[in-house]
């Protein structure tokens, strides 16, 4: 296997809790085996902020809750051959998508921000303003799963997915042996 050129992998955390990236580390000592097969390009793990070259696999944690998430996701789609949604937030929107449930309101986003920063019972915000620094990306009207913004090739389920399933899926993908998940891995009960 060592004579094959190494595959290039990139990762990004969008509207998630970074738990899925921590789960990548749960691969533990097998990381050493994995690193024989791959180089990590753009990723919080390497702290590279831009793609240095086109990648074989992009791994996305989290859905899209703001414009920057969309921008990053577009960038990943353009620069990666295969895009993987890792974890429930990337696949379905996950916990952040709970704000989509504010439906029967004329201005759901405003209501959400006011609840979070001004009117909420346990809020201590002496400015009584919604944060509006130019560095803050604009929020989207809803939280979108990645598959609604770009085409996603594979989804690894879980919240967070276990280290085993991540290692298993990646090594199979890298050796061309991935044939989907066993039912036991993806059933809900």
């Amino acid at each position: 296997m060592s004579d094959l050129p190494k595959a290039r992998i990139a990762t990004a955390s969008l509207a998630g809790c970074f738990g899925c990236h921590m789960a990548i580390l749960d691969i533990d000592e097998r990381l050493i085996d994995l690193m024989q097969l791959v180089d990590v390009d753009r990723s919080p793990l390497t702290d590279k902020k831009r793609f240095t070259t086109r990648c074989d696999i992009g791994i996305i944690e989290g859905g899209c809750c703001n414009e920057e998430n969309v921008h990053v996701l577009h960038d990943f789609r353009r620069n990666c051959d295969v895009l993987i949604a890792l974890g429930q937030c990337a696949i379905m929107g996950g916990l952040p998508a709970m704000r989509n449930a504010i439906m029967h309101s004329d201005a759901p986003l405003r209501e959400c921000l006011e609840e979070a920063y001004i009117t909420g019972k346990y809020i201590r915000n002496t400015t009584h303003n919604v944060p509006n620094d130019p560095a803050l990306p604009l929020l989207l009207d809803e939280v979108y799963p990645c598959s609604e913004v770009v085409e996603i090739d594979y989804q690894i389920p879980g919240c967070a997915p276990g280290g085993d399933i991540i290692f298993d899926t990646l090594s199979k993908l890298l050796t061309g042996k991935f044939r989907g998940f066993e039912r036991e891995m993806i059933k809900f009960d």
Partner: protein, 626 residues
Amino acid sequence: MDNGQECTSGLSSTACDVGAVPAEEIAAICQTFGNDKHRMLDILRAVQDRYHCISPSTMDSVAAETGLTRIQVEGVASFYSFLSLTPKGRVTIRLCDDIVDRYAGLAEVVAVFEEVLGIRMGETSADRAFSLEYTPCIGMCDQAPAAMINDVVLTRLTVDTARAAAEALKAGRTPDHLISERYAELTPHERATRMVDNNIRHAGEVLLGPVPEDAGLDKAAAMMPSLIIAAIEESGLRGCGGAGFTTGHKWRFAAAERAEKRFILCNADEGEPGTFKDRVLLTERPHLLIEGMTIAARAVGANEGILYLRGEYVYLRELLEQVLEDRRRRGLLGKGIHGIRNFDFDVRLQLGAGAYICGEEGALISSCEGLPGEPKTRPPFPVNRGYLGHPTVVNNVETFCHAARILDRGATWFHAMGTEGSHGTKLFSICGDCLNPGIYELPYGHTVREILEMAGGQDAAAVQVGGPSGTMIARDSFHRKLTFDDLATGGAIIVFNGERNILEIVEYYMSFFVHESCGYCTPCRVGNVFLQKAIGKFRKGLANPEDIDYLKELSGTIIETSRCGLGMTSPNPILSTLQNFPLVYSAVTKPNKDRIRDTFDIQSAIDGARKIAKRRSYIFDRDFTQ
């Protein structure tokens, strides 16, 4: 609920203000229905007719009188589209929003009503004189566009006739006067036929040809009940509502069940868009229908029957009440029919209130029981435990009429008509882009092409057989036969010419199912919304090839997991057009550029935040300040 507040918002009308309807008046209405909770739909219809609103305090009063809880009453009141929790006008104008009506010029008619009455669709005028609404198919597709003005039906509306009607109403004329100056002097049958044409284009041997009065009942009265069932079984008669279950078997099952009481229910909730055959039978052969129900009662041993008439056909109420009264007077309904001891049978007319789902037999039974029109879990089947838990035979109007004729002329006569497996004749209601829309009574087995020639629809490009829940076929399938084994239909045949947009039709039908889903089970309530959205993508040209797989997969899930026939057939407009018009879909799909989805519109997604932050997006908006 905020209806109470809305009622007191300063408008002077007293109809619906909280507390303005004295509890005694509500009590009196409940009293006329014996304070019976099973007559809830009748009670609420009466309240709606009188006060044009079912207010919170009214629901409290009704609950108190009938021994139910307020939420049970509200469950019924909020389920049916003809009942309203907010105040409606004294005259409610419901324009039929079927696809056939749209193609016949509905938009122009709507514009006239809006202009003359000074309100938009969905609104009620400030003086509570008028409400303007859309309603799904009211069974007048052969004379579209059509509208219901309270209980009166106007058909073949044009810009001119709509203007005349709206102005007359505005000038204070009653809806009756739109039909005739001397409405009060007309008989119920005259009133019905003045409002609505029958459009019988081809009368067949069984139903619409000459029919001797009560000949079938005369013979049935002299027969053993088991022989009546045997005759119906031999005739090969199958249910004419769409599903095609063997009628004789249904009756046999109901008769075999050990029970003290049995019921005969007639399904006259003809809601499938494009179907209007029962309307014609109810107008022209009401005696034959009741005769058929009476024979069924004799066969299975039932003493009570219910004729469930869809709310849209309320203009036939007087006519049917008169027929029932007439038959009671002549001893053909009531105690000891034909002088036979223990042959007691009477029929009650139950009006629906605008719910397509009530055409499903379980939902129909729920509705008759005074509940929201939700389907029941099967089994038990209605023949075992139906209305109020008693064995119940539910048949379509046409089926009962056939049964009466079979008893008169014999099973062999009926069996000889039609094809193997589909015996007898069938009423086809043909509408859409053809010269002679109307009713055709034909034996089973004609091809679609033959029927199109009869109706003058030779330039048809697509034909919807069996309404939205049926099949849409293209020219290459016009040789197919109208039988249960090939193209099954409850009667609807909707013709579309080459200028019609197939996807527009499909999108309309999906919106119809979204509107009519009772909401009980998730696959139907949510799945149909997803299907409708997906079709919207195709319509906007934003679909990519994999969306076709998505449509198929989601449709499969809905069909497999829905609780009743509505969800099991609602994906049919999509599935049958995917199969028969694949090019329509592939022509509007294109792969995503850079594999980024066109359906996600970043500009609309950030618009709200842009307004809150009062600045442009530094990523997606250009900087014009430089």
